[in-house]
């Protein structure tokens, strides 16, 4: 330090940096919030898709009836006649969060509707998530990297796809909880404070409340602890960071009804208990090592090792026995398919079939994390120079999440924060080196040497922190770094100053700069890369991820065309049917029907009962009469089908029909998939099989379709339909929406007996029981 910076000058710069960082963070929050509003601007403030409608309905119930009724809520509007225990089967985090927000707003006399609160929950929590990312990255590599990571996370497309305004789903709050839990873990690890450890357990509890993905946390943190132990990084801080989390976290997790005893009984959690045992053994060893002389210790080691090994073996044997006694070895199918990627495609076609469980190809990475994919390796390397407890955690996080995302495209969401953290670190380090060099060349040697030298010679220094002169490369500083707001602040500062002075000479010696022009080009290219990222994110938010899928639009030459058929249909149901009427549809539309039409449905998107779904699938795949009998036995009054053939809406029921056949056939073997396929091909034109042309789904979709254009040309399948003129015998059309996208049919009442069959009618008149029995026998539902 050739030009000594006085202490007061440094304080001023420090304060200035903090204020600047604060405003930058506010701007990042605004950015994260506003980039997610495209859906509101382009469409309207409306809840999206399917699952969010259920969450919305639950939130409505919560705000109306209070928390206790919500906890004990038995919903009889769905899965008729079974019903569903809502309180015990949902992750309540999201609902409670939005409900609390609504309650707070109302107590402040801000009369927002429940829907508005629900719509804007996800963007709000995205802002929180980017702040949490700042905190986490700051713990790993300092505030400069933190700000960069927060800005990147604010607009990472992968996260936008799950958190646009209106996308009111668990992931919206869960990602925030995930990052915040990781932050508190790292914070505890860096400070060894029991206060943060407790907060960490509570944050983990919030995560468990919010999303099934909490198992990622409870496996990643033990992995990291184990890694630290194995690589000889055990410290009391590690113990404090881990042991309370397991004890408190597991106790709290068991409080969530949907998790309950799973928190101690499924294999997903066993890793944490195993590591819990190991860390105690290790802690004991370190303790003994501390109180004994080296010679004594050697004796003790052999003793303890033999006993400890025996105990460990016994415990592991018990664990293995417990795990082996359960059929799937205690792992759920989804977790197994993560460990063995080929598992799902071999054994669980239903998991393999869901599109978000597919393995992604490389363009998915470019779409979802864009240029971050280029920066991550640099971040990984930066984390190794030097490797601290915190940065090793970041590396572990990126490695596991990138592997998982490779197996399931859905887990790209978990990868996104890790990629942002790594890229933030990489960007910050790169800018630090490049701008440092430029500054050196422009301003000369005197000011620069502390900057460039500190920035690179001692990578644990905080990049972009202008006053930074702490350059002690030892990892102890990093480990012992405390929060700036903590009481140790002053002490720490002094220590850093001393460190700075002591290593001053080495800095001057190792002056490290890059050539001027090349640095300028480098900065320019990095800024270009960032600009490209911003353009891509805005484009992705605006064009790719903002469609609510409940309202559809299409751009034609005549201008914008809006298809609002779904809400039209649900409104019709709401206003024109009895409150207790049952509506049957494929399960995709269950949540929407209960939430928007307020009518009872047979199956919905919570696909907990496969048999029930198969019953509906069977009905849809059966001829009219058989279908009528099935629906009648379920008290169904109306049947709703979604049909896209007129306007070219591709994800309609005809396209999902093969799944109905498969799932139906899985339970009721008289439905066979080959009957619906002509030479292995699924078709609905004149080449289609008679079974296909006579099934209920075909008839309900294409009834009177030929009246529209005279030919019956299906614009999704790009073909003329096979059977154009037919009449319905057991169903009658009651409503078809403007663009024919939703069609609602009513079950005709049972016919009077025909004269010719007097014999049968006689027997029926005498004993209705026998005839019902006959009917029931044919009915697969019973």
């Amino acid at each position: 330090m050739s030009s000594p910076v006085t202490a007061s000058e440094r304080t001023v710069r420090h304060a200035f940096g903090n204020v600047l960082a604060f405003f930058v963070l506010i701007l990042i929050g605004v950015l994260a919030f506003s980039i997610r509003l495209f859906s509101v601007i382009k469409y309207e403030s409306v809840i999206h898709e399917f699952d969010p409608y259920f969450n919305y309905r639950v939130t409505q119930f919560l705000t109306r009836n209070g928390i206790y009724d919500f906890w004990n809520w038995f919903d009889d509007r769905t899965w008729y006649p079974l019903g569903r225990v809502i309180g015990g089967t949902v992750y309540p985090g999201l609902t409670l969060t939005a409900g609390t927000l609504w309650w707070v707003l109302h107590s402040l006399n801000i009369p927002l509707s429940v829907e508005t609160v629900c719509v804007f929950t996800a963007p709000t929590f995205s802002a929180f998530a980017s702040w949490a990312t700042y905190l986490l990255t700051k713990e790993v590599k300092g505030p400069g990297a933190g700000l960069a990571a927060a800005a990147l996370l604010g607009m990472v497309p992968s996260y936008i796809s799950r958190s646009v305004a209106g996308s009111y789903d668990n992931e919206a709050v869960a990602i925030f909880a995930l990052i915040f839990t990781f932050f508190l873990y790292i914070k505890t690890l860096n400070t060894g404070s029991l206060f943060y450890a407790t907060l960490n357990a509570i944050s983990y509890f919030y995560m468990v409340c919010s999303w099934g993905g909490y198992t990622f946390i409870i496996n990643l943190i033990p992995m990291h602890v184990l890694l630290c132990i194995v690589t000889g990084r055990y410290s009391p801080r590690l113990y404090i960071a881990y042991a309370p989390l397991v004890v408190l976290g597991t106790l709290l997790a068991a409080l969530v009804p949907v998790v309950g005893f799973n928190a101690v009984m499924t294999s997903e959690h066993f890793a944490s208990f195993l590591v819990f045992i190991i860390i105690h053994v290790v802690a004991l060893v370190y303790y003994i090592k501390g109180i004994l002389s080296p010679r004594m210790f050697k004796v003790a080691v052999t003793l303890v090792l033999s006993i400890g090994l025996a105990v460990c073996c016994a415990v592991i044997a018990i664990l293995i026995a417990v795990v082996a006694s359960s059929p799937t070895k205690g792992w759920s199918g989804r977790s197994l398919s993560l460990l063995d990627p080929t598992y799902a495609s071999k054994y669980i076609p239903i998991i393999a079939s869901v599109s978000e469980h597919q393995p992604p190809t490389w363009p998915s990475y470019f779409m979802d994390i864009n240029v971050l994919a280029f920066l991550v390796p640099a971040g990984i390397i930066a984390c190794f120079l030097p490797l601290s407890d915190a940065s090793s955690f970041a590396v572990l996080y990126i490695v596991t999440s990138v592997y998982f995302s490779g197996v399931m495209v859905r887990l790209m969401l978990v990868l996104a924060p890790a990629a942002c953290i790594m890229s933030g670190i990489a960007l910050s380090e790169a800018f630090d080196a490049l701008t440092g060099s430029i500054k050196f060349h422009l301003l000369g040697f005197s000011i620069e040497n502390s900057q460039a030298g500190a920035g690179d010679a001692s990578p644990d220094n905080v990049p972009a922190q202008k006053n930074a002169v702490k350059s002690d490369a030892s990892e102890n500083t990093l480990k012992e770094r405390t929060s700036r707001k903590s009481k140790k602040k002053e002490k720490e500062r002094e220590k850093e100053e001393q460190d700075g002075k002591s290593s001053l000479k080495s800095q001057i010696k190792r002056l490290q700069v890059l050539p001027f022009e090349a640095s300028i080009i480098g900065v320019f290219l990095l800024i270009l890369l960032g600009a490209f990222y911003a353009v891509h994110c805005v484009w992705a938010a605006a064009e790719a991820y903002s469609a609510p899928s409940i309202v559809l639009t299409s751009h034609t030459q005549s201008g914008l065309h809006v298809f609002d058929d779904f809400r039209e249909a649900y409104a019709w149901l709401r206003h024109n049917t009895e409150v207790d009427d049952k509506v049957a549809s494929w399960w995709d539309y269950g949540y929407q029907t209960t939430a928007m039409a307020n009518r009872t449905v047979i199956v919905d998107n919570n696909t907990w009962n496969n048999t029930h779904i198969a019953t509906v699938g069977t009905a849809m795949s059966s001829p009219e009469k058989a279908a009528w009998e099935i629906f009648n036995s379920l008290d169904v009054k109306y049947v709703l089908v979604v049909f896209g053939g007129l306007v070219g809406y591709p994800s309609d029921d005809i396209n999902k029909f093969l799944w109905m056949v498969r799932i139906g056939g899985g339970v009721f073997p008289h439905i066979k998939e080959p009957d619906y396929l002509r030479d292995g091909q699924y078709r609905i034109d004149s080449q289609a099989t008679p079974t296909m042309l006579n099934c209920l789904m075909y008839k309900l979709s294409y009834y009177r379709f030929v009246d529209t254009d005279g030919k019956g040309f299906d614009r999704v399948r790009q073909t003329e339909i096979g059977k154009k003129y037919f009449k319905l015998t057991h169903f009658e059309e009651v409503f078809t929406t403007h663009h024919w996208m939703v069609r609602i049919y009513k079950l005709k009442p049972q016919k009077n007996r025909i004269r010719g069959k007097s014999k049968k009618s006689k027997s029926k008149a005498s004993s209705t029981a026998s005839s019902t029995k006959r009917r029931i026998n044919k009915n697969p539902w019973l």
Binding site: G232, A452, L514, P515
Partner: protein, 340 residues
């Protein structure tokens, strides 16, 4: 003598009467004998044996034949997966035999056979087999081999399990659970456990001493970057979907396709290429920020940095181009409308 002739004469029609059934059971016994000769129970047929067991006996035959059409010279074509399918086929066969060990009547109802193209071209013609992989089930009542049931792609998709399902649905015979050989045999497993037990004390000692491969940061660094490279190139997709490294061009078989257009699918070489592009930029950036700053010589620095920047720029541009080409997306910015 004299007395025997009439008795013989009387017996001849009786023999003739029995001939068919006797011959049938003989054939089945012969097949069983052939079956026991091969390890997996798959019988190797050629033109002669096909006519003996399949075309010449009168229907209904007492058995069904499941025939795997094989061509050794096509084994190296990865996209046909002939060897893999053949192994799976053998697995179904051995499972069928094992599961019906104590039920000889069921065992002699179905035989698994394979036919090699080079030896038995006329059989291929007889069945009208034009493409591989091809598996046919010849039922007992079938007269013309051309009418036999073919196992289509869907039945091959889940390998042995779906083959077994196909057989069960067509023949009404139960194959039972597929017994896959464990990855490591029992002896190997015991051996491994023993080795592990012996090693454990040494490993623990090394861990306590802080001197293992795990303590080497470079190993971790390399591993982390490798996993990243591996995943981000979509290699998991290729493993799960069994994608080949490249495809021959349909229009021009001498050319190879390395890049597949359409975002739902990718080829092996494509994944590695893009994975490299993804990774190299980050590595160069790290090189510049962490290693190059330590170099003393200014012109070396300048030279390496320019090259690094150029390669990075090219790699990013290439990926953007490839992505636009593959997915068909056109990413565009949103400018104020007054600017137009």
């Amino acid at each position: 003598m004299v007395s025997k002739i009439p008795s013989l004469a009387a017996l001849i029609p009786l023999f003739l009467l029995l001939a068919s059934t006797v011959a049938d059971s003989d054939l089945a016994a012969e097949l069983l004998a052939l079956q026991s000769r091969s390890e997996s129970g798959v019988i190797h047929l050629d033109d002669r044996s096909v006519s003996r067991f399949l075309t010449s006996p009168k229907t209904p035959r007492p058995y069904s034949l499941l025939i795997f059409f094989d061509a050794e010279h096509l084994h190296d074509k990865a996209e046909l997966r002939l060897t893999a399918l053949k192994n799976e086929f053998a697995l179904v066969s051995s499972s069928f035999i094992a599961n019906n060990q104590h039920n000889p009547t069921v065992r002699s109802k179905l035989f698994f056979c394979d036919i090699e193209f080079k030896e038995s071209q006329s059989t291929f013609a007889l069945f009208g087999v034009k493409s591989l992989p091809h598996i046919r089930l010849v039922g007992p009542d079938l007269k013309s081999p051309k009418d036999s049931d073919q196992m289509d792609q869907a039945d091959l998709s889940r390998l042995a399990e779906s083959m077994a399902a196909f057989v069960e649905s067509k023949t009404k015979l139960s194959v039972g659970p597929i017994a896959r050989p464990p990855l490591v045999s029992k002896m190997q497993f015991i051996f491994m456990v023993a080795v592990l037990m012996i090693c454990t004390p040494f490993i623990i000692r090394r861990i306590l001493a802080g001197d293992t491969l795990l303590h080497d940061k470079k190993v971790w660094l390399f591993g982390a970057v490798f996993v990243y490279f591996f995943s981000v190139g979509g290699t998991m997709h290729n493993i799960i979907r069994n994608m080949p490294m490249f495809l021959p061009d349909r229009n021009d078989p001498s050319r190879l396709i390395f890049f597949y257009q359409g975002s739902g699918m990718q080829l092996g070489a494509e994944g590695f290429a893009v994975g490299c592009l993804y990774t190299v930029v980050g590595l160069l950036l790290a090189l510049v920020t962490h290693a190059l700053v330590r170099v003393r010589n200014r012109s070396v620095q300048r030279f390496i940095m320019i090259i690094a920047l150029f390669i990075s720029f090219w790699a990013v541009k290439k990926v953007v181009y490839l992505d636009n080409w593959k997915t068909g997306y056109r990413v565009h910015a949103f400018w104020p409308s007054s600017w137009n």
